[in-house]
């Protein structure tokens, strides 16, 4: 059997799980609101800015973007493996690094508002 080294999966899996739960709970409604209905009042520049300037608003936006990214990249990485593509630590770093980058960009933008 392969080496019994402790896997670091729990870190990525926990983020994947949190993102998946969030996406399952409110993903569809979020997509409907921001992508299909696009209510002009609620999504007006002024309203969204007020929301994004509020501490809780910042947290909400950051959580959605970050956790959705971590959920997505983890599954994408595994999808590649499922298709028979050889995935190693390099690709793993790339995918998760992408999610980290997205998180950092979002945080930076939110702090600056």
């Amino acid at each position: 059997m392969a080496a019994l080294k402790r896997s670091n999966k729990p870190v990525f899996w926990s983020l994947f799980g949190a993102g998946g739960m969030l996406a399952a709970l409110i993903g569809p409604m979020l997509i409907f609101i921001t992508g299909i209905a696009v209510p002009p009042q609620a999504m007006s520049y002024e309203r969204v800015l007020v929301f994004a300037r509020h501490g809780l608003g910042k947290l909400a936006i950051l959580m959605v973007i970050s956790l959705f990214l971590f959920h997505g990249v983890h599954r994408m990485y595994h999808c590649l493996h499922d298709f028979g593509i050889h995935v190693g630590p390099g690709l793993k770093a790339l995918f998760h690094g992408f999610a980290v980058a997205g998180t950092l960009v979002a945080a930076y933008l939110l702090i600056g508002l």
Binding site: M1, A2, A3, L4, K5, R6, S7, N8, K9, P10, V11, W13, S14, H78, H81, D82, G84
Partner: protein
């Protein structure tokens, strides 16, 4: 005039073949005949060279697992009448090397089974009498104890097919069966295997293993429950003595 059904079998004789091929047999059958009985008819009356495993004929020994039209099933509890008038294609269980015809090499599984320490580990065996368990304590591990090692779950699991180092559903379900048993004290000994990349983390919850299990063991549950245990072990290990 009795009905006949076409049973197409994968054939592979290592002494003569470089790769498998298929052979179709015309088998007379009655509505009560299982796929296993169909194979036995072939071996007894049509082609004695057909090789396959079987024993109890009643879904308890776990020997007769086959792919029947692409689905892992026990030959003894799968019935020809459900496929008639279509053809029945019988192949050896997926994801295992083929030894001969419909027989696979299970040695990889047996190694993994040994590795999970599938026995009660306890310093506190009662001197007199027996252990005692409440119905709830028994419920915690009972379904996992019903595994008959038939390997249908391994044939179902694409992660095992893609990476045969993965410990796999049945071995992990049996690992959990002992961890969950109140009489057992060996959880810490088994954690190393759980926490490894090829332990529970090789699973992506396809879930097909639990679909095909003939004994409702629900290996998917055993494996994925232990992802939480493994994560707890990972994050809290620095808070333990």
């Amino acid at each position: 005039m009795s009905k006949t059904i076409q049973i197409e079998c994968l054939r592979y004789h290592p002494e003569t073949d470089t790769e498998p091929h298929y052979q179709t047999y015309e088998v007379p059958f009655t509505d009560d005949m299982s796929v296993l009985q169909g194979l036995q008819y072939i071996k007894d009356r049509l082609d004695g060279s057909l090789t396959f495993r079987w024993s109890c004929r009643m879904a308890i020994c776990g020997s007769c697992g086959q792919m029947v039209n692409g689905v892992p099933l026990l030959g003894c509890e799968t019935f020809l009448r459900d496929y008639y008038p279509g053809k029945v294609r019988v192949e050896p269980l997926n994801h295992f090397p083929i030894v001969r015809d419909l027989a696979i090499d299970q040695s990889d599984f047996l190694t993994k089974l040994e590795a999970v320490k599938p026995f009660l580990i306890s310093e506190n065996v009662p001197e007199k009498g027996t252990f005692r368990q409440t119905p709830e304590q028994m419920e915690d591990y009972y379904q996992y104890s019903k595994c008959i090692n038939c390997l249908l779950c391994y044939a179902a699991c694409p992660q095992y097919g893609l990476n045969s180092s993965f410990t796999g559903p049945a071995a992990l379900a049996l690992l959990h069966r002992y961890n969950a048993d109140s009489r057992d004290e060996g959880t810490s000994e088994r954690m190393k295997l759980v926490n490894a990349e090829d332990g529970v983390w090789g699973c992506t919850l396809v879930g097909y293993c639990s679909e095909v299990c003939p004994k409702a063991v629900d290996p998917a549950r055993a494996v994925n429950q232990n992802k939480i245990n493994s994560a707890k072990d990972y994050f809290f290990r620095f808070f333990r003595k």
